[in-house]
């Protein structure tokens, strides 16, 4: 059986019909074709599938698509505007805060949620905000430096 779900993704309203067992991650990747959001562990441990749900980072692999009904989702594709990357994305590039890149969309969105809430976080707050995102290349230091560079420039 399929059920109706209406949600806003990156500012655009989508009305779909999905089965109960569809996760938000599958809806985003398979139904909408937005493959910037990655599937990692599938168990809410790695953070590769992080998206913002009404502004808060969640693991899209642990949210049913139908539970996101009426909500607003931001994926990594929603950050750039008019072909121009977001300042967080620019900072990651400038600081070399990317190795294989698989964790990057989730990292960037966790950072976005942090800076939207607190534009001047301290080192411990930055690290705390990234505790739910694994970088298996272990490039954490550069990522923290990228976030730091944003705080000191703004």
């Amino acid at each position: 059986m399929r059920y109706p779900v209406a949600l806003t993704v990156n500012g655009e309203l989508y009305e779909l019909e999905v089965p109960g067992h569809r996760t938000l991650l599958d809806l985003i990747r398979e139904d909408l074709g937005l493959t910037g959001t990655k599937q990692g562990c599938g168990n809410g441990e790695c953070g590769a599938c992080t998206v913002l749900l009404d502004g808060d980072p969640v693991n899209a692999c642990l949210v049913l698509a139908l539970q996101a009904d009426g909500k607003s989702v931001t994926t990594i594709e929603g950050l750039s505007k008019g072909g121009k990357l977001d300042a967080i994305q620019e900072a990651f590039i400038a600081k070399g805060a990317i190795q294989c890149g698989f964790c990057t969309p989730g990292m960037v969105l966790s950072v976005k949620a942090l800076l939207d809430r607190n534009p001047h976080p301290g080192q411990s707050e930055i690290r705390e905000a990234l505790t739910g995102n694994f970088c298996r290349c272990t490039g954490y230091q550069k990522i923290v430096e990228a976030v730091d560079s944003l705080i000191h420039h703004s």
Partner: protein
Amino acid sequence: MRLRKFEFSSPSSLAEALELMEKHGAGAKLMAGGTDLLVQMKSKTTTPPLVISLLKIPKLSEISPDGKGCKIGALAKHARIGDAPILQERWGILASAARKVGSPQIRNWGTVGGNLCNASPAADTAPPLLVLEAEVILVGRRGERRLPLESFFVGPGVTALTQDEILKEILIPEAPGPSAWAYLKLGRRKSLDLALSSVAVWLTADPHTKVCCRARMALGAVAPTPMRAKETEKFLEGKVLEERVILEAGAKAAMECNPISDIRASAEYRREMVNVLVQRAIKKSLGEAIPPTGI
């Protein structure tokens, strides 16, 4: 990591949810955030034919004053409990523990009701709610019942909920005067891991004599359910909280718990960590510096 197919229902009232539960019996599973349930469903530990989502039921996630106490809706997310001013100011131990659940992503979606109903012995919100002597309100077709959280936990993954009941809210009674508290969680890593041992202490001491007049202590991940350490509480009450007493309290709590060996730690290690964490938690609650073990 695929989910088996299931039917989905999203009732807009408790009455409607209860009706569905009665109709479908054991085939229906309630879902709050689902951060635990979906993991179990992906591993096929649980494969319910029907999932009833509680998210569309209004007012189930409110955190509000209740007389001199506080009422927390079962669907309150960990992140909201962690940053609610009323909890931070008056029941800081709960706010502090809520901020140690999983990761920011889990805290933004997982709920306190889900945490309690999942009934993991390691549930982070359980030890603080046990020391606060919280009660839970369970609602069924024939009305509501209220019971102490302590009797809500029956075994690993098992609660006092009957098949046709829903955990509606958690009641925290008035805080007994100025109290000192600490919640320490020891895991294999600082985030995204369950506790291998955790300790909550809530102490009231006479400010002049330093005699402890009221002690509440709860332990996580060292028994089939989160547990109160009542013998250690009794031992502490009426005593001056000095080094010798604190040392003995640690040893008593280590004797009182009943841990198992599993993937996270051996029973012996857990018991020894209870000893250490209890001492540190008492010291931390008294404002003393403790080593940076646990989180």
